[in-house]
């Protein structure tokens, strides 16, 4: 039972950063902008969270810094690809490189260290909002090992799903990705909608980054994301651009990461690299084997002139 609870807590901790980033990517891709820059957004968010916490002393301000810096990275990507019509894939890759470089550069400039930042106060765990008495032991144990961002991430996932499915702005956003000409003819401001979608996606991904740095750990490590942003993009593809599909894909990748960590603890004698490769290999295998009918948004990657 305890093992099961630990496993579920581990699964949620691994899936939630991916969930936030993947839903951010979903917003931007449904609006018609290719977003491979999730990696950079997460990385910037992770660094900004630590920096914000270190400067202000409050982890909530750190979270806010992560969200806003993610949105700023989104603005760079959106500006380059919408306003300046750069190739969206290359612009994403440049943004990712910029994030790696800039976080490492600033880490050295601000903290005067290489590799790992000094520790800051992490976000509280879920047990801080539980009442003191009248809670079953198992639940309390689960809450102690779970960051407060987990329910927030799940709520955001549900909110984004509802937004896309049942609201008028959500429909408009999807219209921009499916047929921008028709959307413009219907009187929508296509570029602005896309810009806002990419920035919001960046904010979510930045929050996912904050989960990694001040949710799970309490410090920033150079290149802390380790390709999780790319896994999130893969989750969007695997989920066939549908919120429920993306949610399932994220759970699957979270499982992969959790299993990798679980195995590494279970069999410490086996080489570590074999476990590290599990999430990527699982992702690749599923991409290769899975066939679905849904296609990407029709106008994905195309900027109307």
């Amino acid at each position: 039972m305890i093992q099961l609870i630990n496993l579920i807590a581990l699964l949620l901790a691994k899936a939630c950063p991916l969930l936030l980033a993947a839903f951010g990517g979903l917003l931007s891709e449904l609006s018609g902008v290719i977003n491979f820059a999730l990696e950079g957004m997460m990385l910037t968010g992770a660094f900004a969270a630590v920096l914000g916490t270190w400067v202000t002393g409050s982890h909530w301000m750190g979270l806010l810094a992560a969200i806003s810096s993610g949105a700023m990275v989104g603005a760079v990507h959106a500006g380059a690809s919408l306003k300046l019509r750069a190739n969206q894939i290359v612009s994403s890759i440049a943004v990712n490189l910029l994030a790696v470089g800039l976080t490492g550069f600033l880490l050295n400039q601000v903290f005067h260290v290489y590799g790992t930042s000094p520790g800051v106060e992490a976000l509280p765990s879920l047990s801080s909002i539980l009442p003191q008495t009248g809670v079953p032991d198992n639940l309390r144990r689960f809450a102690q090992g779970t960051s407060i961002l987990v329910p927030a991430a799940l709520a955001i996932g549900i909110a984004v799903t509802a937004f896309l499915r049942w609201t008028v702005p959500g429909l408009r956003l999807r219209a921009c990705g499916e047929n921008p000409e028709a959307a413009r003819a219907a009187g929508l401001m296509v570029r602005q909608t896309q810009f806002i979608a990419v920035c919001t996606g960046g904010a979510l991904a930045g929050m996912g980054g904050a989960f990694l740095s001040i949710g799970e750990l309490s410090q920033f490590v150079e290149n802390i994301t380790q390709g999780r942003g790319y896994l999130a993009v893969a989750a969007v593809i695997l989920g066939r651009w549908r919120p429920t599909g993306v949610f399932l894909a994220v759970l699957f990748f979270g499982c992969g990461e959790a299993v990798s960590e679980w195995f590494a603890v279970r069999w410490p004698s086996l080489p570590n690299q074999l476990f590290l490769v599990i999430p990527y290999a699982a992702c690749f295998a599923v991409l290769a084997l899975y066939t679905g009918r849904r296609r990407p948004p029709s106008a994905l990657g195309r900027v109307e002139h």
Binding site: A80, A86, I93, V277
Partner: protein, 391 residues
């Protein structure tokens, strides 16, 4: 890169159109052509980076002097830079070739690592072979391994419609972890260093020139020759034309009877093979063995170099020389100016961003200047036929 020649020329003239409009003078032709890909956007990007360095306490003069003395200032530094140029030429060519066929090969990092490991293992295992056979076979093995490592990515694109960037990135991570495991376990030299045994002396790249401890191998020449050959192939042969047409307009190519998707697969495999060859050359000419975390980012450097050269193999020597200078100056930057090596990555990213958006930047400037002209024309009522701003 995706546009045809005429459009490229129009784009090249755009900065100078602005210049002539402001200063009311025609601009000499060679200058116009130079501004096509190399000068305008990178200059803007470099200015941004200098601002960043200034904010970190390094003046622009110091910065340029340090980079120069770290990369070309002495014979040792120059040879170091040329050595660093070799893998960049190969990976840059890999990216440029794939890009001309409408693909983005971002998996160079993984292909290079796999190519390097396989070639090192082959050279160690085949040490009974004579020298004239061992070295070429080693290089071929590395290239084949790189090509094979690129195969899943392109097949996934053709069969499942998964973008090759995502699958290639996943393959990168897999390659790095797997090679790290293999080299610390089965293929290692028994120490805890995470490296293979050294390759035999007759598998090493022959030296062209040596003076004291400084030497210069055949490897950069091979890479330069490859670039030259790729340029010839791409721009002077029918095959090159067919491959390029798959990149410029896929549907038109298919309608014209060119099997465009087959060309894309072929080119992507070649691109992977070039990246693998970069690894093999590194093993044979520089390190003489494979070790853990082999590539210090040659894949992404190659990407930037390819875009700086506007996807043309004939200009790669210039852009890779630039990237290699930055790379080989990073230690001096760290010691002399206290800039972390990540500064190079920032420079690279800003350059990449400015290069891919330079068309848009000039379009914006055109828009402003034509708006300004139009409003000034309203005041004095001299009428000229208005040339529409294209783009």
């Amino acid at each position: 890169m995706e546009m045809n020649r005429g459009e490229e020329k129009a784009k090249a003239s755009r900065p100078w159109r602005f210049f002539s409009r402001v200063f009311q003078t025609p601009v000499p032709n060679p200058l116009r052509r130079l501004s096509a890909g190399f000068l305008t956007a990178p200059a803007a990007g470099l200015l941004i980076c200098m601002g960043l360095a200034l904010a970190a306490g390094a003046g622009p003069i110091d910065l340029i002097r340090t980079i120069w003395s770290g990369s070309w200032g002495s014979a040792e530094a120059a040879i170091n830079t040329l050595t660093k140029m070799t893998p960049l030429l190969c990976t840059g060519l890999a990216v440029a070739l794939a890009y001309r066929a409408g693909l983005l090969n971002i998996g160079c990092e993984g292909q290079l690592t796999v190519g390097a490991l396989v070639s090192a293992c082959f050279a160690v295992a085949g040490s009974r072979l004579p020298g004239f056979l061992l070295l070429p076979l080693t290089l071929v093995c590395g290239a084949a391994a790189g090509g094979l490592w690129a195969l899943p990515a392109i097949l996934l694109r053709q069969w499942r419609g998964v973008h090759e960037v995502i699958s290639a990135l996943l393959l990168n991570y897999m390659a790095i972890h797997l090679c790290s495991y293999l080299v610390s376990g089965p293929f290692g030299d028994g120490t805890a260093m995470g490296r293979t045994p050294p390759i035999p002396a007759w598998a090493q790249m022959p030296e062209v020139w040596r003076s004291g401890s400084l030497f210069f191998t055949l490897a950069p020449l091979i890479a330069l020759l490859l670039c030259f050959g790729a340029w010839l192939w791409l721009s002077k042969t029918l095959w090159g034309f067919e491959a390029r047409s798959a990149g410029t307009n896929f549907d038109a190519a298919v309608n014209a009877g060119i099997s465009a998707s087959r060309w894309q697969i072929m080119i992507f495999l070649k691109s992977g093979a070039l990246a693998g060859l970069a690894g093999a050359l590194e093993v044979c000419a520089v390190h003489h063995r494979f070790y853990r975390s082999f590539s210090p980012g040659y894949g992404f450097d190659g990407l930037t170099a390819a875009f700086l050269a506007n996807g043309s193999p004939q200009w790669l020597w210039l852009s890779t020389a630039f990237m290699a200078s930055l790379r080989s100056a990073d230690k001096l930057l760290q010691i002399g100016l206290n800039l972390s090596p990540n500064f190079i990555l920032v420079v690279q990213a800003v350059l990449l961003l400015s290069v891919v958006s330079q068309g848009g930047i000039w379009r914006q400037i055109d828009k402003f200047s034509s708006q300004a002209r139009r409003s000034s024309r309203k005041d004095d009522s001299t009428h000229q036929p208005d040339r529409a701003v294209t783009g």
